[in-house]
Symmetry: C2
Subunit: 256 residues, 2 copies
């Protein structure tokens, strides 16, 4: 409907487990026409930030990934070298000798310059400890996003922010988040699509990511859809921190 | 030396992976004379709190444990039923069907009333998600301690606080900590030893746990030992938040 009116659509997601190509497949299945280029995920945002903004000189430009294959695919697409992630050698229990080899650095890759945390269904102590050791040695600390929870199976589960929280607590400082509501993501999207912010509307179902993203980005409009984590009561309450300009019960209401 | 002067000694540790009996064995190895009853660990503190203070009526008094065997041993000693912990069925990757059975509650034990997090070298997403689901259903949230880091192999590693941080971030509230510097632990120790606080000295090597514990507990003295995580510069700096009454380079200096 929006497309038939000539509107440019960009699908902006914080889910870091899926690459843009994965999302394209998902949209195909749902019967939603979308191109890979119209999808902007937090993994892609992080990869673009690392490659184009940080632009670290090789060979000291490797990323230690705490996350799933979506992050790895986007880093590959941007030509950023990485370790960790889905590598089976990190999907195991920590052993007594790991403490020694991590402490003396012999288990660490001296070319790692960045720790990037995202949603990781295979999080374990070995990954937490390895990420922490890189950070202690001065690696930059990035996160695809810091969502506390993840809607799944009609319930909520720990999100990327919960997975990364162990590293945050250990090192005592927050990661730079490249997902919503981080404006680093808005800048990256603008860099690619050159849209007019005043004539752009952010549509989303989560106040502290989607709607906050639109407000902080000074977009012309913000539309809340009540099919997700956030409830109407949340932003209709007096003194609510994030208030959308308008809301609809479901996306279908836009068709009316 | 202190013992020969008739001093009562209590060894207070935040390490939740070991039970008091484990510590007794460790002291034996080090040639330090100590009785099990003189050891007060954060796992024991948590078990005492759950059994004697919470004193929940059976059968809805089970504890879901995120932690190692030290916690289980102390809960057993206090007769507190528990699940999770070292149970191999929780030491595995989360599977797609787990999301459904956790979301609809069929994988959950209706008698769980408490989630207790400690240091867990086998932390994984399944444990995070299970703990989070119990908390969402109203379970009490306790932690043996919230130390961000753990000294090991002449380096630092993620501590119990880092392991529990994922659950904290997901649920959006802190756990009640039963370890140093929590005064719940001081009260539990006093309940057992009936000591005179004004004539008691806390000796420790970490400012934000050990020394803070003594200060908050209004003990007569606090003595920092410079063999641990905290450095002299930390408390000698102007405006330092936690300052010991005295300090020594190492415990052996007490013998002089």
């Amino acid at each position: 409907m929006l497309r038939s009116k000539g509107k440019q659509l960009v699908f902006v997601t914080n889910n870091s487990t899926k690459s843009r190509a994965d999302y394209k497949k998902k949209f195909d299945k749902l019967g939603i026409p979308a191109k890979v280029d119209e999808v902007f995920g937090s993994s892609y945002s992080a990869a673009v930030y690392i490659n184009r903004i940080l632009n670290l000189p090789a060979p000291k430009n490797k990323v230690f990934v705490v996350g799933e294959s979506g992050i790895e695919q986007e880093l590959d697409a941007e030509g950023v070298p990485h370790i960790g992630g889905t590598d089976p050698s990190f999907r195991r229990d920590i052993e007594p000798e790991d403490f020694n080899s991590l402490a003396d650095g012999s288990a660490l890759d001296p070319d790692v310059a960045v720790v990037l945390t995202g949603l990781d269904f295979h999080i374990n102590y070995l990954k937490l400890a390895t990420a922490y050791q890189y950070l202690q040695r001065g690696a930059l600390f990035l996160a695809t996003n810091t969502d506390s929870s993840l809607p799944m199976a009609h319930s909520l589960f720990p999100g990327a922010g919960a997975v990364g929280a162990g590293v945050v607590k250990a090192i005592g400082r927050e990661a730079l988040s490249l997902g919503k509501p981080s404006q680093a993501m808005m800048d990256a999207i603008e860099g690619k699509f050159h849209f007019d912010r005043s004539r752009t509307c952010m549509v989303g179902d989560r106040m502290n990511t989607d709607i906050q993203f639109g407000i902080d980005g000074k977009l012309g409009g913000t539309l809340a859809v009540l099919t997700g984590v956030s409830k109407k009561e949340e932003f209709l309450a007096e003194g609510a921190s994030t208030v959308p300009m308008a809301y609809v019960d479901c996306l279908g209401d836009l068709l009316v």
